[in-house]
Symmetry: C2
Subunit: 500 residues, 2 copies
């Protein structure tokens, strides 16, 4: 069985967004103070217009959707979107903005969840959307080189035709862009097998705040010649430079994929099953996703998907194996039989056909959407040592016991220790926020977890940065920022807590 | 068949070194100018003595071996070696040295090949050797935390007992230390399967030049909270901080390993075979090592190892597969049969027993040693796009045609595009150097290769840095250095070309 890997996963679309008007960030957070940046004037408008042409210089009503984030939780009031097509245009834009002290908000697919990809005030939006060319693909080495604005799913389709896959996969793949993926160090569903972007990205090109083009667009797997500058930009959320091109190592498409959907009685059993799986099949393990009963209930009720096994278990695991050989077909059954015999798991169903596999993945992938249908979702994306992984959900459930919530549920990439803790309500309620925050961050910090596993810091988590970073780390980060972007025109107000 | 992975590889020992006296670096490179650092005086000696105790403060004759590199190509004339046991002691040392402007040379196992781990002048040597404790190992996640001075082979043995392997393996494993491995972003023999240290290292602790302890000792697989500072230190060759602790993700030991030793007629056939292997078995591929006929001849003649197949081929490949399942036993035979039928390869032998596997690896691993037995070896470690990979050897062979050389040979990690180009002679000869350098770097640069794939820049390649890094990259590197170590007390003269 050869799996059409790319099409096996569903992604959320903007169609599901709430239709409410979005409060301006400056009103939602009145303590935020606009930096002393220039306001764009007619001279600047002429310049941008001339440089990019009217089609790639967006003004008017169309700018609105670029001002608002995907969750509709924050909104800037920028009047201008720049859509350069080339690195050289990005360079010209930044040279100009640097000289004239114009703040820039860098935006990829705008699928971020922490308010990092939209302006806070009136920053000019630099969208990478028009930089969407694939530059080269080496069929022998599997190295893809492309512009930063390529949509992840398009890249997936492209390399799939050559027998390769992208080394990561995200729910937002239909919209998110590779440049944004790098800028936020995206994790996703394949990390347990293919590792982080820090390992997969071979090179990148970025434009510094002053417009200089930094070309680290290496396509080599090994290059130990001085500091590994590219890593400064991966995960720096557009605050150190605008990523314009990417070189990334793609793995060959695995020939065989098997997925099991498993019911378990307790979280301890989940851990035992994870341990057993790693012992027996670690080399083939490509996903180990946890879903709790609340998450399954939500998908069943709000989306109408049916749980493929008895829906009364406390926990569910979606296990995916992939390999060069169909031994995994038998191996997954042996694993499950052993786990059943040892009473680690209670029930399971296995799929090895693309459509079946797709159906099992649908359940996992529809959880965020199903929760959003309640009205509002408080999203927490944390990493925890395995022993504390699910305790976080129990803690929050306890704290929200008396409040009006639709669901408190936990799901996510257990294999990576990455928990998505979601609280669904009919509408936003400040009381609920303050029952969760900063408690959840304090709790995570106490157990040496990360307050943002995948989503980054952006604007919304910036005030909690100190729960995951020491003073010295923040100080060093600031030094780097000051060294590379001394005027701080790139993505201001993001990552760093505003000084009081 | 379960392979004792750790013991399957041989490492070179210092016993094989040439016994000649080593010329002082300052005499070999008279243009190098000592920085305006303080000279250690009796007050400083008292301080170090009191802080570390006599056992961990080395003076006198014993310092000699710390001054000389493994290749005996450079030598400093430091009078003092500090061997702190704890991060806090490192912090005290650096605070003191920073205040008193004393230059420091950071040294791990001193197995580097570019003069990066020994002093150039009289820098005080800070050896990490006494920081050799394993701090923790998590059997569920496979995360190892240890001090920087742990010897790689000891770590391999330790995690092997728990069913894990280290994600990288080096010839120098019996001597090299994990801190040095990180500082030089070591690559090695498993990179094609387990990726680079940039992907495997989860966290590190380092002490900055001014003595501040920067604790990025994360043990989580995912943590997107601000800049990924740890990556600044990986591969920075001790110039930005002293790595004191490491957290690293270890993969489970593969249950089955198969190795084939293959003879091929031309380099094009090698590439075809690599392509075929990736197509059929990329998920199981753990090594694809190239050896040319000169390399095999050298091992046969100088070490007395017998080539396991006909020794008249132009090229040899050592192919290793590893997996959770013994399907690879059959799969490797099918692969070889197909390659034989298509006349891609000419001959091959396969091993699946530890002792047989070890014997095949011995041939590959004894190449450097066998070449050194001629007297002297000019070592070049470059990455090239596959199409130019072997051309580099032919080019150099042509240039040295009329000179007195014992062998010009190419071997290395073809899977990663990493060529070890070695020229063996009876003794060092300036004429040969100038026939090779900077030509080889110009040539590599022309084909967008890296002038140092694994070995780093250190002192010896610093003047060639510009062949792999643009002016802007070097400028940015300097800015980082100035920001983090403004007095430049850490590993001076390394990486950066001396300003004229």
């Amino acid at each position: 069985m050869v799996l059409n890997f790319t099409n096996a996963r569903k992604f959320c679309t903007k169609s599901s967004l709430l239709k409410n008007a979005v409060q301006l960030t400056k009103d939602k957070f009145p303590n935020l103070i606009r930096g002393s940046y220039a306001t764009v004037d007619s001279k600047d408008i002429d310049y941008f217009n001339k440089l990019l042409g009217a089609n790639n210089f967006i003004t008017g009503e169309e700018v609105k959707s670029y001002n608002e984030d995907w969750l509709k939780s924050v909104s800037g009031f920028s009047k201008f979107v720049l859509k350069p097509k080339t690195t050289e245009q990005v360079s010209e834009i930044l040279k100009y903005c640097y000289k004239h002290n114009i703040a820039i908000c860098v935006q990829g697919g705008n699928t971020g969840l922490v308010g990092g990809s939209v302006p806070v005030f009136d920053e000019v939006i630099l969208s990478t959307s028009a930089m969407n060319n694939i530059i080269s693909f080496d069929k022998l080495s599997g190295v893809l080189v492309c512009q930063a604005g390529c949509v992840l799913e398009n890249l997936m389709n492209y390399v799939q035709n050559e027998g390769f896959i992208m080394p990561f996969d995200l729910g937002a793949k239909g919209t998110c862009q590779i440049g944004g993926n790098l800028a936020t160090n995206a994790g996703g569903l394949r990390l347990i097998k293919y590792g982080s972007l820090q390992g997969s990205v071979l090179g990148l090109q970025s434009v510094l705040a002053d417009g200089q083009i930094l070309n680290c667009l290496n396509t080599l797997r090994k290059d130990n010649t001085g500091y590994h500058l590219k890593h400064m930009f991966i995960g720096s959320e557009g605050t150190l430079g605008v990523i314009t091109k990417v070189a990334i190592q793609c793995p060959n498409t695995p020939k065989y994929v098997n997925v099991a959907f498993i019911g378990l009685k307790s979280f301890n059993k989940v851990l035992s099953f994870f341990s057993l799986t790693r012992k027996q099949l670690s080399g083939s393990l490509s996903s180990f996703e946890l879903m709790d009963s609340e998450a399954i209930k939500s998908v069943q009720t709000n989306i109408g998907l049916k749980c493929p096994i008895d829906d009364s278990f406390e926990f569910y695991v979606l296990l995916e194996l992939s390999a060069d050989n169909n031994f995994i077909n038998l191996a997954i059954e042996e694993l499950l039989e052993k786990a059943l015999a040892e009473e680690i798991i209670v029930d399971a169903t296995v799929a090895d056909q693309p459509s079946q596999i797709q159906n099992l993945w649908k359940i996992r992938e529809n959880i965020p959407e199903s929760l959003l249908r309640n009205g509002y979702v408080y999203k927490y994306d944390i990493t925890l040592p395995h022993e504390y992984f699910y305790e976080a959900v129990l803690e929050i459930r306890k704290r929200l016991d008396k409040l009006d919530v639709k669901a408190v549920c936990g799901y996510g990439h257990l294999g990576d220790g990455n928990l998505h803790l979601n609280v669904a309500t009919t509408e936003y309620n400040e009381k609920i926020t303050s029952a969760i925050e900063p408690y959840i961050y304090e709790w995570t910090s106490k157990y040496k977890g990360s307050i943002s596993a995948e989503h980054g810091i952006g604007l919304l988590k910036s005030k909690y940065l100190n729960y995951s970073k020491s003073n010295l780390e923040v100080e060093l980060m600031k030094k780097l920022k000051n060294t590379i972007d001394p005027k701080k025109i790139l993505n201001p107000y993001k990552i760093f807590p505003q000084d009081k």
